[in-house]
């Protein structure tokens, strides 16, 4: 009985939490299929906003900017951040701590400060191209997050692995590529995903650092005066579905890999027994 009550509350709590998290998204998705332009005024099921969305050159261009900046900045930041983390890892403890802390400072820095300081430096060096500005800004705020997710992996792995590779005839570069990087790959991947999503989400830094180029967040914000168009609901729905699908694929894959590793381990255990 007690167990049942406990389970009931567990379930309710979980349900409420999920409701709290997903209700806004559910509303948005439902209204993306509304025939009327007005939120909250359901006039029938329709796909007009999806058709209008793909016909809207401005939204499509903004989406292109958002995706390309997210991809490019995530790739570049992942490369730079990973090597920075590896470099820091091999420093002496004192210097390492100092450098690590300095590199994490931008994470706690408010976006507004980052954005305005980038705006000022771009004006100062006379960089006018809006796309380059946006890209540089995103690389800048992404790097610390990559370092943040790669560094712990480096700490977990042991230096002996690298030394063993050298002993077995690897050049340092080969050892890095064949041993160290595969060893910290999960950290690099999560750093990349983190960087990609942060770039996808960003509004404040983008808004201040660029000019003449619009990503999705700037575009949507600019619609405020005339009202958010249901096309945006349709776009958000599609993006939500895309992200969920990606997450599902990644999770299912890692679950399968874990299971495979599990059975492997059990087999080995049986043999030794």
């Amino acid at each position: 009985m007690v167990k049942r009550v406990r389970n009931f509350f567990k379930g309710t709590y979980l349900g409420l939490m999920l409701l709290f998290l997903y209700a806004p998204i559910a509303v948005l998705i439902v209204y993306s299929f509304n025939a009327s332009k007005t939120m909250g005024n359901w006039t029938g099921f329709s796909l007009i906003w999806y058709r209008a969305l793909f016909g809207d050159a401005m939204i499509m261009r903004a989406l292109g900017v958002t995706l390309s900046v997210a991809a490019l900045s995530a790739v570049i930041a992942t490369i730079m951040g990973t090597f920075a983390a590896i470099g820091m890892h091999s420093m002496k403890k004192g210097t390492r701590l100092v450098i690590e802390n300095i590199s994490q400072l931008p994470v706690v820095n408010p976006d507004l400060v980052t954005g305005i300081s980038l705006m000022m430096i771009f004006a100062f060096i006379g960089l006018k191209d809006g796309y380059t500005r946006l890209l540089l800004a995103h690389i800048t705020f992404n790097i610390p997050y990559v370092i943040f997710s790669v560094a712990p992996k480096l700490r977990q792995s042991s230096n002996e692995l690298y030394e063993a590779a050298l002993d077995l005839g690897c050049t340092p570069l080969e050892a890095l590529i064949k041993v160290v990087i595969p060893d910290i790959m999960p950290g690099i991947v999560s750093g990349f995903i983190l960087a990609f999503t942060l770039s996808l989400d960003d509004f404040v830094v983008s808004y201040f650092s660029t000019q003449g180029v619009e990503n999705l967040s700037i575009y949507i914000y600019s619609m405020a005066r005339r009202g958010i168009n249901p096309k945006i609901n349709a776009l958000s729905t599609l993006m939500f579905v895309a992200v969920v699908t990606l997450l599902l694929i990644v999770n299912i894959k890692s679950i399968r890999e874990e299971r495979a590793a599990d059975t492997q381990r059990r087999k080995v255990a049986k043999k030794t027994a």
Binding site: S36, K37, T38, M39, G40, N41, A52, G55, D56, A57, M58, R61, G64, V65, L67, S68, V69, A71, L72, A74, V75, M119, F122, A123, G126, K128, G130, Y131, M185, V189, Q211, G212, V213, E214, I218, Y219, Y221, S222, M223, A224, R225, R226, G227, I228, N229, I249, V250, K253, S254, E257
Partner: protein, 350 residues
Amino acid sequence: MKKLVLAVTIALLLTMVSGCGDAQKGDAVTINVLNWGDYIDDETVDVIKLFEETTGIHVNYTTTASNEEMLVKLKSPDSIYDICFPSDYTIEKMVAGDMLHPLNKENIPNLSNIDERFMDLPFDPGNTYSVPYMWGTVGILYNTTMVTEPVTSWKIFWDEKYAGQILMYDSIRDTIGITLKMLGYSVNTRDEAHIREAEAALTAQKPLVKAYLDDPIKDTMIRGNGAMAVVYSGDAVLCIEENPDLAYVVPDEGSNVWFDNIIIPKTSRHTAYAEAFINFLCDAEIARANTEYIGYSTPNKAALALLDEERIADETYNPSQETLDRCEVFRDLGDFIEVYNKAWTRIKAA
């Protein structure tokens, strides 16, 4: 895992390539346009594309959400913009800051399409720097099923009968402005006593107000969740189309009439091309496409003549001269705006 990473990387590289292609197109002249969001027709007539095709000038089109942001963007030392659409009082600020390029009207022959009533306005005498793009009034949008008496005065917002059904506009100058009008003062008053009176009135009204909103006012009124609201005429047109129970009126005490205008910043290096763009927007067919898409009133009399009769006869869209005569344009208040700001903060906190 490796394959997945590889696949993701390839997909990303592909988007990168397509993205870069977009960012730098050709080497024709490019003008940078900074407009309000959703403020040009891109559905029935793709205005930007048509301009590019007819003139060969490339347009880099971006948007923003407020006059203050436009001001900041144009003030930046490395501003790239050639065309912008600020409102009346912002133009005054820009003129005072020597930020605008005096228009070469020989390049804008379509200027003759603009109604003389909307030329030579107080914020830019002689239209030295600006050409009106859209205009409208501020008035009362009310639901005729809830408000059966004739609506003629701003005082109805203070009527206790409608407690909890009143929606006010979350905007300093508009809301204090209509209160000043109700009290019989100018929307541009620089008399602190007038502001104090308006503040007292708005504070006293607060218990009756359902909410201070901006954009969501439209949806709330369309759904029938409010008896009356302060709205722009252009938004009222859209709301009435969606919900025929709604009606719009500019009260007898008068109101604000506003203009969004096209300007060229002084920093522009392509003024002749920018003037070609202004001329294009003043073309009768283009101006008609824009006013039909946006729903706001056009100052272009040649475009107005092309609209269907129903639209021309619509007092909300095309108010009579008599209504216009009761309305005032916002002027830039300079430092006195601080008095408004402080009053507003106290009202919102009350």
